[in-house]
């Protein structure tokens, strides 16, 4: 850590990890409700648990991205953060807003929360992932603006590198496309059309820029490979991400009332969406193979390589699996989507945040580049337990999805939704069991922060 103000990232990372734990616990609740339908009913019905599960995911990733930006931008810009105070104030504003929103989900019926927050004045609630009350959404906009101002001023008055400029571009895009969440017309087709401008252009657009820049930063730091080489890769990867990903939005416009030509546009471009993820994998392994130094933080390198591989599998391969229109006609809105969602979010976004945390936390806690051997080994156990569990969760959901499609949508005597769900419950049981292994992995990972031992010095 070269600048004092980078340490503000620690707050953000701690909040991110706490919310990550909440996300996993609510995931387990839902996984159990899939097989024992009345679990916690009517106190925490499935829709509430799911809101908490997906919203805490989004918020912890945002905390993670902000923390990553607060750590990375001063170091890249070679100056202190423009305003560490603003970063701290916005942290508490964001945390309190997120806490109140989740408390609202859990403590009152959703319809009452809508009434309390006067949703009828500016109705934006009740749409997947964008369930937050309008006032929370406006709060997110304010926090994002303050954050962008802080980061932007640091970069503009400091050294501009490809890494920090790409990150700023991604963050700007994140803020701009979030604005579409505030538009909710009475026409469902229009609502859905523009809803994807937030959801798709986040996860298959601007977030990939953030992912790429964090990965590039961690690789520059841990491999010592020439910045010029890494920055060239970064440009090529994000170029491919946007060239394929923007029109790739079309894969959401097959069956929601939009014209038929989206089936062609969406299929062609989203079929190419795995390319940038494949390049990311090649890039990460190449850089580590060509490393000029042996960085003592092996765990961080493992997270970075793991992220590249799992992002390719989850976002690339599992995305491709159901992205072609003739296939998607049968798989749309089944457990196949859930399977893809789990591995893609974990692989691309959870893992990049965890890679950044792994790289930066040692500097922020004891000022040395790496934790003790013991702590790193425990952290790697956490890595493997969580990663292998998510692979199996994805495989079980894929099994469930294929059978669901077969039973419910193909064949001569298609079963009703609930009949098909009963037929495939074995996969839900297996997923539930694997969820516990994921939780165990998370706890092992948390324990690594308290494992102690002698921090490692920079290798000679």
């Amino acid at each position: 850590m070269k600048y004092k103000s980078q340490a503000v990232a620690k707050l953000y990372f701690i909040a991110a990890l706490v919310l990550f734990a909440a996300q996993v616990i609510f995931g387990l609740i839902m996984a159990y409700q899939y097989v024992v339908g009345d679990f916690l009913f009517p106190e925490i019905p499935f829709n509430v648990a799911r809101m908490v599960h997906t919203n805490t995911l989004i918020v912890w990733l945002l905390f993670g991205f902000m923390g990553a930006a607060y750590y990375l931008v001063p170091e890249e810009s070679e100056r202190e953060l423009y305003s560490p105070l603003l970063a701290k104030v916005l942290f508490w504003v964001f945390l309190v807003a997120a806490g109140l929103t989740v408390a609202g989900y859990l403590l009152v019926p959703y319809a009452q929360l809508a009434e309390l927050t006067m949703n009828e004045l500016w109705p934006t609630m009740g749409r997947e992932f964008l369930e937050q009350p309008t006032i929370t959404k406006l709060g997110i906009v304010v926090v994002a603006l303050g954050f962008l101002f802080n980061i932007g001023m640091t970069i503009l008055t400091g050294r501009k590198t490809v890494v920090n400029v790409v990150m700023l571009t991604g963050l700007l895009g994140l803020a701009v496309f979030f604005l579409f969440s505030l538009y909710n017309p009475a026409n469902l087709v229009l609502d859905k059309y523009w809803w994807w401008w937030t959801v798709h252009l986040w996860v298959e657009g601007t977030w990939e820029l953030i992912l790429g820049s964090i990965l590039a930063f961690v690789l520059i730091k841990t491999t010592g490979v020439d910045r010029e080489v890494i920055e060239k890769w970064l440009y090529v990867i994000i170029a491919m991400a946007l060239i394929t990903g923007i029109l790739g939005t079309g894969h959401h416009y097959y069956w929601i009332g939009t014209p038929e030509y989206w089936q062609l546009v969406g299929s062609v471009f989203s079929a190419m969406e795995p390319i940038p993820f494949f390049m990311m994998t090649v890039f990460a392994f190449n850089m580590v193979n060509q490393r000029r130094k042996d960085h003592p933080n092996k765990a961080a390198v493992l997270w970075a390589l793991g992220c590249a591989v799992m992002a390719f599998l989850g976002a690339g391969v599992w995305g491709f699996l159901h992205t072609l229109a003739p296939v998607n006609y049968y798989t749309h809105g089944t457990q196949i989507t859930a399977a893809h969602g789990h591995m893609a979010f974990y692989g691309a976004y959870a893992m990049i945040v965890l890679a950044m945390i792994s790289y930066s936390m040692p500097f922020m806690t004891h000022g040395k580049p790496a934790n003790s051997n013991k702590a790193q080994i425990i952290e790697m156990w956490g890595f493997w337990l969580m990663t292998v569990s998510i692979v199996f969760i994805t495989l079980f959901l894929t099994g469930a999805g294929i059978l669901q499609v077969w039973l419910q949508r193909m064949g001569t005597n298609p079963e009703s939704f609930m009949a098909a769900q009963d037929s495939i419950s074995i996969f839900y049981w297996l997923r539930f069991a694997t969820g516990w292994v994921f939780l165990a992995g998370l706890l092992v990972y948390f324990y690594s922060f308290f494992a102690g031992g002698e921090p490692k010095e920079e290798n000679a």
Binding site: G126, A186, V189, A239, L247, H252, P259
Partner: protein
């Protein structure tokens, strides 16, 4: 990567490529917007349908169901529920109305939302309108 392929070439591909495809996306969006009225039958969006959509949102129906395949996968698809229930709004209303407050032992159950008759009517109107959207023949069959 080859040395002849420079960083500034990579940057230009990024800027030019993203800009080009974003403009193309805007163009297609413009075309979609002009062809949608024929497909979504917006002339049928009465105040009742709009109020039904708001009820759909304010009770977080998307937290369990899919609607045109988007949402959660815990409960049945509702984009075509009007057709599945025999094009009968009363069946939809009766179903929502009759959900047991404490659920069904061991099974998934829809919560009891205590909607008024007017609200039930609005919701059913919204689901009816939704079932008439031209979705390129999705879902594949009546089961959704």
């Amino acid at each position: 990567m080859s040395d002849k392929f420079t960083k500034s070439m990579a940057r230009n591909i990024f800027i030019g490529g993203s800009l080009f495809f974003f403009l193309l996306f805007l163009g297609l969006t413009f075309d979609t917007m002009s062809s949608l009225p024929k497909r979504d039958h917006r002339e049928n969006i009465t105040p009742q349908v709009a109020s039904g959509k708001m009820l759909w949102e304010e009770n977080n129906c998307i937290g369990c169901h899919t609607l045109l395949g988007e949402g959660a996968y815990f409960a049945p698809e509702l984009g075509n529920v009007y057709k599945r229930f025999g094009e009968n709004k009363e069946v939809i209303k009766a179903f929502i109305k009759s959900r047991p407050v404490t659920g069904i032992p061991g099974r998934r159950s829809m919560p009891q939302f205590n909607l008024t008759d007017q609200q039930l009517d609005d919701l059913a109107e919204f689901l009816k309108w939704t079932s008439e959207i031209d979705t390129n023949n999705w879902p594949p069959n009546i089961q959704g």
